[in-house]
């Protein structure tokens, strides 16, 4: 059982568009390991998480962009990334997250 894929499968069955965000790499100290994922549906539902809660809002926006037709993207959040100060990564690491529309 995987609650994220479970929800994605039911959204797709209902004919809703969805995007999946997966942690693919964690540098230094991050709370959640590679493979942790979060999914978003076109009507704004969210399941799962990719960090301790600090980058989820940013990833949500990216997932929405993917649903609306933006291509798959590899994103990085962390102290080495200017954007991360805005995001406020509390755990002091860098996480790389792949965001894709679920059209497969």
């Amino acid at each position: 059982m995987n609650p994220v894929i479970d929800r994605v499968a039911s959204w797709r069955e209902e004919g809703k568009k969805a995007a999946l965000a997966t942690v693919v790499k964690v540098e230094r100290s991050g709370p959640l390991g590679p493979g942790t994922s979060m999914a978003v549906s076109e009507d704004g539902q969210v399941v799962g998480s990719v960090s301790g809660g600090c980058v989820e809002p940013a990833v949500y926006e990216e997932a929405m962009a993917a649903i609306e037709g933006g291509g798959p993207r590899l994103l990085s959040y962390g102290i080495s990334d200017d954007e991360a100060f805005g995001v406020g990564l509390t755990c002091g690491g860098t996480i790389h997250i792949f965001v894709e529309r679920v059209d497969w």
Partner: protein
């Protein structure tokens, strides 16, 4: 629902082994390519048949150990090139925990095993002890001689074997059998005296020092545990520490990153 998602979802629901490979970096047209890999079969594509062949082969290797990694390949699956990064996530069935000796401590260890996501199998030769009533949380309860049972049991590198009988009559044969397996953790309960006695008997039976080094005996981290529940936590903590290569001890008393260098990136049913 599309085929890839549907088959992935089904495999996860059935807890059958599956790996999902996704191209996360690469030339235009490759990015986002996906191959769903089963032990005997695969579906989807990373971009072309040659790349798929390399991805499928790599994914099966990772899946066997329940490992999740990013691998780098050439656009045609070349091993020494780095143009294409493929994230391969393994979803292996839950690892197994074998608990030998249906004593009170075993019940707590079985519960801790379930809590950590193990498939827990309790085995004891004595039918009066190995009962469902005593082990409501165990996935399987087996009445058999531990060493006989272990000979036919499925054990891999993620498996845990906890020998809690602390009776040499049971301990010695089952530990000898355990040492023939690739189990990732082998622990044996007992006082210092039981431990010394058991070690001597194992050596008499031809077990080498190198083999004995694989056995956590006396079992568990030194946290002063007394009750079955506390002891189960000490054992659970040792299982995690050995797997991740950490030494145990208080984070408050050391500095540096908490989740350093974890080579362990396994996922069980996909939930970390």
């Amino acid at each position: 629902m599309a085929d890839l998602l549907s088959r992935w979802h089904t495999a996860l629901a059935e807890q059958s082994p599956v790996a999902m490979a996704t191209v996360i970096q690469g030339p235009e047209g490759y990015l986002g390519g996906k191959v769903l890999v089963f032990p005997e079969d695969h579906t989807g594509t990373a971009g072309n048949a040659e790349l798929d062949k390399a991805v499928v082969e790599t994914a099966r290797g990772l899946l066997e150990g329940g490992r999740t990694e990013t691998v780098h390949l050439g656009p045609r699956g070349q091993r020494r090139m780095e143009d294409v990064a493929v994230f391969i996530q393994s979803f292996a069935p839950p690892p197994r925990m074998y608990v030998f000796g249906a004593i009170d401590f075993a019940s707590a260890v079985a519960r801790a095993g379930k809590f950590m996501g193990y498939r827990v199998i309790v085995c004891d030769a004595r039918a009066v002890f190995a009962t469902r009533e005593r082990f409501p949380s165990a996935d399987e309860i087996v009445v058999a001689w531990p060493d006989e049972f272990l000979k036919t049991a499925e054990v891999d590198g993620r498996s845990v074997i906890a020998v809690l009988t602390h009776d040499p009559k049971f301990d010695v044969p089952v530990l000898k059998e355990a040492l023939k397996t690739p189990a990732g953790y082998i622990g044996a309960m007992g006082s210092r005296r039981t431990h010394d006695n058991r070690t001597a008997r194992l050596k008499e039976e031809g077990v080498t020092d190198e083999q004995l080094a694989r056995v956590s005996s006396p079992i568990g981290l030194d946290i002063g545990a007394r009750t079955p529940e506390e002891t189960a936590i000490a054992i659970a903590a040792e299982i995690v520490a050995l797997r991740t290569g950490h030494s145990g001890g208080r984070l408050a008393e050391r500095s540096g990153p908490i989740h350093w260098a974890a080579p362990d990136t396994r996922t069980r049913d996909g939930v970390k």
